[in-house]
């Protein structure tokens, strides 16, 4: 009886532990499945036209998404201009100046803002930047993405500033530098690598956002000069093309998906590798 129980316990041990390994493997293989599907389907339909031409009218095959690629870049630029300064400064405040209670409130609010569903951010940006002027615009899309950049930038900036060794701080102070001088000339440069990584990751994340753009930047089948007209973006194009009933559009959606995924993953892999190898690692 006792012996049977021992055998049972030992086999349970082996089976359960094996299953955990299988689970981990299964999850990782999903990543490779996704990559495989996109490379296979997207690669087939990727052509030079995709990067250089405008979308063709419904019914005609061919054309590309040049306007959406430029549109995405313009939206990212706006998001960076609006989100990064706020995120950086607030991060500096939390790491260097903050008192106890107020910092706690800011940190909590930042996490809260980070958890707000992107579609709700879209509604917010709509009421800020679309309702008053009564039309969709690149600017409104930038506002939506910019708001999403803020919380990620704040937390990573704070984290990397805190990781700067106290000795550096004390050294600068001992030489007679004021607090602000210390931050600007010693601490920020020391944490530079990490902060840039955090910013890039934030941008990579919002680059793939679709929901907040649907009713802020909207979309556009043509070029969108300036900042006050509706503008196309890669994620919204993927969405519109994927749910449309045309085969040619589906092919283009795969191609756009491949381009977007490649951008996002390259940014992620690149920054993370740089972080684990390069200068930033020293200050962490």
């Amino acid at each position: 009886m006792n012996r049977l129980r021992l055998i049972w316990r030992k086999s349970l041990n082996v089976v359960a532990l094996t299953l955990t390994g299988v689970a981990a493997l299964a999850v990782v293989s999903i990543l490779f499945l996704i990559l495989g599907y996109l490379i296979y389907n997207g690669g087939k339909s990727l052509s030079w036209d995709f990067f250089t031409k405008l979308p063709k009218p419904v019914g005609e095959t061919g054309g590309g998404m040049a306007n959406a690629i430029v549109g995405s870049l313009k939206l990212l630029l706006l998001a960076a201009l609006m989100g990064i300064p706020v995120g950086l400064m607030a991060g500096v405040y939390l790491a260097e100046f903050g008192g106890k209670t107020f910092s706690f409130v800011i940190r909590y609010t930042t996490d809260l803002l980070n958890g707000v569903p992107s579609i709700v951010i879209g509604i917010f940006a709509y009421s800020l930047a679309v309702l008053p002027v009564k039309h969709f615009s690149a600017l409104a899309g930038g506002v939506a993405l910019g708001i999403m950049v803020i919380p990620i930038t704040v937390r990573s900036t704070e984290q990397f500033l805190r990781a700067v060794p106290g000795t550096l701080r004390e050294g600068a102070m001992a030489l007679g530098a004021s607090k602000w001088k210390t931050i600007a000339t010693v601490i920020l440069p020391a944490a530079k690598g990490g902060i840039i990584t955090g910013v890039l990751l934030a941008l990579a994340r919002v680059a793939g956002e679709t929901a907040p753009l649907l009713f802020t930047a909207f979309s556009n089948r043509f070029w969108s000069p300036g900042w006050s007209q509706p503008i196309a973006s890669l994620p919204v194009m993927i969405y519109t093309y994927a749910i449309a009933p045309y085969d040619d559009w589906h092919r283009q959606a795969w191609a756009a998906g491949l381009v977007l995924l490649a951008l996002v993953l390259v940014a992620n892999v690149g920054t993370r590798l740089a972080l684990s190898r390069g200068g930033a690692a020293r200050s962490v």
């Binding site: 316990r9 030992k10 349970l12 041990n13 532990l17 955990t20 390994g21 981990a24 999850v27 999903i30 990543l31 996704i34 599907y37 996109l38 300064p85 400064m89 607030a90 500096v92 405040y93 100046f97 409130v105 800011i106 609010t109 930042t110 996490d111 809260l112 803002l113 958890g115 569903p117 992107s118 579609i119 709700v120 951010i121 879209g122 509604i123 917010f124 009421s127 800020l128 803020i150 919380p151 004021s178 602000w180 001088k181 990579a204 994340r205 680059a207 956002e209 679709t210 929901a211 649907l214 994620p235 993927i238 969405y239 994927a242 749910i243 795969w254 977007l260 993953l265 992620n268 892999v269």
Partner: protein, 311 residues
């Protein structure tokens, strides 16, 4: 000396303003949602939550089908993602050598970085057909005659619906469960494991009966975090759920979620009441994720600070 200190104060004030801006922005978000949903809130009151009709033509709006769809898809996703994620996290923290564990975690973080519209793309063209021809028919065959369960697995099966959305959501939230749970499990003191092993427990018993219970509050936190993600997820769900505002017991039936209806109808909303009802849905979604995120944060922090009471 005076000048220097003056500079410090300016810097302090400047960064403080930007930090306060985050507070302002978040309060404005709540304010805008509240004010812009005024029409719908005053017209429908609490009935908004129970009404099953969504009729833009006669201006009659109820949130019930969307709340139902949001909850059902999220629950399905958790039923799939929690065992899978927890098992993977156990493997990464208890079994795998540090190097392998780090590499796998890196890949899983990449999975979390994949944009949701790409999950939607794969959902439409890969998961939906698979669901229609392979997974769905098998599930109906296996569970279609089991008492109680048969209600959930009823034909017709179009490929789109609650279950398909749940599968896609599960894949999207599993990285969050894994990375947070792994971190929480890694904070469990080594002595706990050694004590269990010294008493003659097998590796699995020490993990399942000692380590996991120790970390359970944090693990619950990771699940709440995942749930909040699943509730608010928009694009992937919109593309595979079928977009039909109905309450159906069968998991294969098409449905609708809060986020999906906002995404689909916001630009087409004619009339102030229609728009206001959509914004009220946004408010509901915001409150749901707000509460869950708050709880999750508290639980994770509590565990990592040396928290879990040994069971």
């Amino acid at each position: 000396m005076q000048r220097l200190r003056h500079g410090d104060e300016v810097a302090h004030l400047l960064t403080l303003i930007f930090a306060a801006l985050i507070l302002l922005l978040t309060s404005m978000l709540v304010y805008e949602l509240w004010v812009n949903s005024h029409l719908s809130r005053t017209k429908f009151g609490w009935m908004f939550f129970w009404t099953r009709v969504w009729d833009p033509i006669f201006n009659n709006f109820g949130a019930a089908p969307f709340i139902y769809g949001t909850l059902v898809t999220s629950i399905v996703s958790l039923v799939i993602a929690v065992p899978l994620g927890l098992a993977a996290a156990i493997f990464l923290s208890e079994l795998a050598p540090r190097k392998i564990s780090d590499t796998i975690s890196f890949l899983i973080d990449l999975l979390a970085a994949v944009p949701s519209v790409i999950y939607g793309l794969l959902g439409i063209f890969i998961v939906v057909p698979l669901m229609r021809t392979e997974i769905g028919p098998h599930l109906i065959k296996w569970f279609g005659h089991v008492p109680y369960l048969s209600v959930l697995f009823k034909p017709p099966n179009y490929g789109v619906g609650f279950f398909t959305a749940g599968i896609v959501l599960a894949i999207m939230v599993v990285p969050f469960i894994i990375s947070v749970s792994r971190e929480v499990l890694l904070t469990v003191p080594r002595e706990q494991r050694e004590a269990a092993l010294a008493l003659g427990a097998t590796h699995w018993e020490s993990t399942w009966k000692v380590v996991v219970p120790w970390a359970r509050t944090g693990i619950m936190g990771s699940i709440f975090l995942a749930l909040a993600r699943a509730l608010g997820e928009t694009m992937a769900v919109t593309m595979v759920i079928g977009n039909d505002p109905k309450i159906a017991a069968s998991l294969f039936a098409p449905g609708y979620t809060i986020a999906a209806v906002i995404a689909n109808e916001f630009t087409e909303a004619t009339g102030d009441l229609y728009l206001s009802a959509l914004i009220e849905l946004g408010l509901v979604l915001f409150l749901m994720t707000f509460i869950l995120n708050g709880l999750a944060r508290i639980m994770i922090v509590a565990t990592e600070r040396g928290g879990g009471q040994p069971a």
